[in-house]
Amino acid sequence: MSATVLYDEPGPRARIWIAAATVVGVGLVGLAVAVAVVRLAGHHQLDRARWTFVTDPAILRFLAFGLLNTLKVAAVAGALSLAIGCLLAICRLAPVAALRGAAATYTHFWLAIPVLLLIYFIGFGLPTLGVDLPVFWFLVLGLTLYNSAVFAEIFRTGIVSLHSGQREAAEALGLGFWQTMQLVLLPQAVRRMVPSLVSQFVVLLKDSSLGFVLPYEELLHRGQITGQYAQSVLQAYVVVAVVYVAVNASLSYLARRLEARQRRPGARVAAEAPTALNPLIVGAGLAGAAVIGVGTDAPAG
């Protein structure tokens, strides 16, 4: 439903109301900005000296390597989660009950606990048990365990949202379970779920900031050190936030482009929004997802 149906084309009086609301709204936002600027200036937070670190090429290089480390860990954990998640989704639909149960337990367990608790356990618990890995792999492990569960839910939703005729036709052709998955269901499901997969990757990228506690030298950690060193704590965190927004907004833009492409007539097969089937994907943007799988009792199609 487009928002414009909610109200008429504004008449003269409505236009005055809208103008008044606009003025008040913009005024409030403006006031907030003004107060913020006054406060910042009053506490010398806008002083040139506090911001000069952003023009120091050495510091920018330091932060850039932090960003690189963030992207590195996100890419590796993302690729692993994608692969494992895909396998899990297949297991959850497999004709073997034990396999379905195991995959469901795995998924539900990781989706029920905080990623940070998992990372604490891996980073500080496992070493006391004698496990010895570089912090990079600790973080990859933590992010992968959790995100593979989320990706599994996304794939599963994608598969069960396909029309049952797809599966039936494949079976009628004599294809086995694996062939049906590989040749018929998965290719369509993946295509359908690309936007969800990309937005979950954004979540994963944001979650990589949890590596801060290990500590893994990612962007947030390097931002903290820069703030300490340059005596610009507030400014360093602002810079870090801006970089995250820029990277993630680009990824989200990509997701929207892919979504728009799917809505085009040629891709109509996948046109109905499967996201509505699984609340987890709607909530996936929040560093997490729900255990609730509505799709569990939904028929395949």
Binding site: F62, F65, L68, A75, Y229
Partner: protein, 312 residues
């Protein structure tokens, strides 16, 4: 049909892109650019002032020492975010601070050069496992010696005695010790050992409790409290952020001996490290290391601590 094949072409190009990104990532993991979390996280810098310490002429039989000498450098676990003790300098990736200088003294003792060090970042929670797994040879990371930790690792030193101290505004001359806090507004963190000590040592102080020490510092600068009290290392870190506004009173009223964490049981190495520290105490290198780091903020150079050569 045409459109569909275009779509799948696009999808396969996405797949190819992902694969390329992954390959790139794996390649990037392989080469050590000095920024990764591996042991080569950062290399040591040349000390600002020359130290008098020289390379040892003979080395005791010690597995740790043999390993270090064979490798050609010493792997030191330290903090990267502790101002004045171990803080990474983002302009050159080097670690700077008093803990780092102590590591340099050891490097001189073993290799005759202060730079044969790899610093590996440790945090409070992973120091024991890092030593036990041999990820690091030693840990110098504002590491308080206590009996619980002695069950897991050995300690050389102490090389510094930290303790609870008082921070005031730079122009304050009225507060000279913990007794002067009585009747004054004093800020500390709720539920901390510092709060307990404060209530014991200055029972009539007007205690203001907050969640973080940086918040205490802000309140002090704003004039809402007259003093802040906790470990001097924390206070010095805050002062390094506000050199013009804040200062340390410099009279500690508790003791937290900082030691160098070592693998348990290598007593020959522990003696070697203790001997090195003792020599640095005597020839003035320790004081020089202190002055070039913590001394930039602390009011005085403390007296050298007494080495504790305990028997395990």
């Amino acid at each position: 049909m045409f459109r569909r094949s275009r779509l799948s072409a696009r999808l396969s190009s996405v797949t190819v892109g992902l694969a390329a990104a992954l390959a790139l990532t794996l390649a990037a993991c392989g080469d050590d650019d000095g920024s990764g979390p591996g042991p080569a996280a950062a290399s040591g810098a040349t000390p600002a002032g020359g130290y008098k310490l020289t390379q040892a002429t003979d080395f005791p039989a010690s597995p740790t020492l043999d390993k270090i000498r064979q490798r050609g450098e010493i792997i030191v676990g330290t903090k990267f975010d502790q101002p004045l003790f171990g803080l990474q300098n983002p302009t050159n990736d080097k670690i700077e601070g008093f803990d780092t200088e102590i590591a340099r003294l050891l490097s001189i003792r073993i290799f005759g050069s202060p730079d044969k060090i790899q610093f590996l970042q440790t945090v409070s929670k992973n120091r024991e496992p890092f030593i036990q797994q041999g990820k690091v040879d030693i840990v110098i990371a504002t590491y308080t010696i206590n009996d619980a930790r002695k069950k897991l690792v050995d300690f050389a030193g102490p090389y510094y005695t930290a303790g609870q101290d008082i921070m005031v505004k730079s122009d304050n001359t009225a507060i000279r010790g913990v007794a002067d806090l009585n009747g004054k507004k004093v800020c500390t963190v709720e539920g901390s050992t510092s709060e307990k000590n404060l209530r014991e040592k200055a029972p009539t102080a007007d205690v203001v409790l907050v969640d973080t020490y940086s918040s205490c510092a802000e309140q002090l600068i704003d004039g809402r409290v007259e003093a802040v009290t906790t470990d001097n290392v924390v206070l010095l870190g805050l002062i390094s952020q506000h050199k013009d506004d804040l200062k340390l009173v410099g009279t500690t009223f508790t003791t937290e001996p900082y030691g160098i964490g070592l693998t348990k049981g290598d007593d020959a190495f522990r003696t070697f490290v203790n001997d090195t520290l003792e020599e640095a105490y005597q020839n003035g290198d320790w004081a020089k290391a202190f002055q070039s780091t913590v001394g930039k903020v602390a009011p005085t150079v403390p007296t050298t601590p007494t080495i504790d050569r305990y028997t395990a």
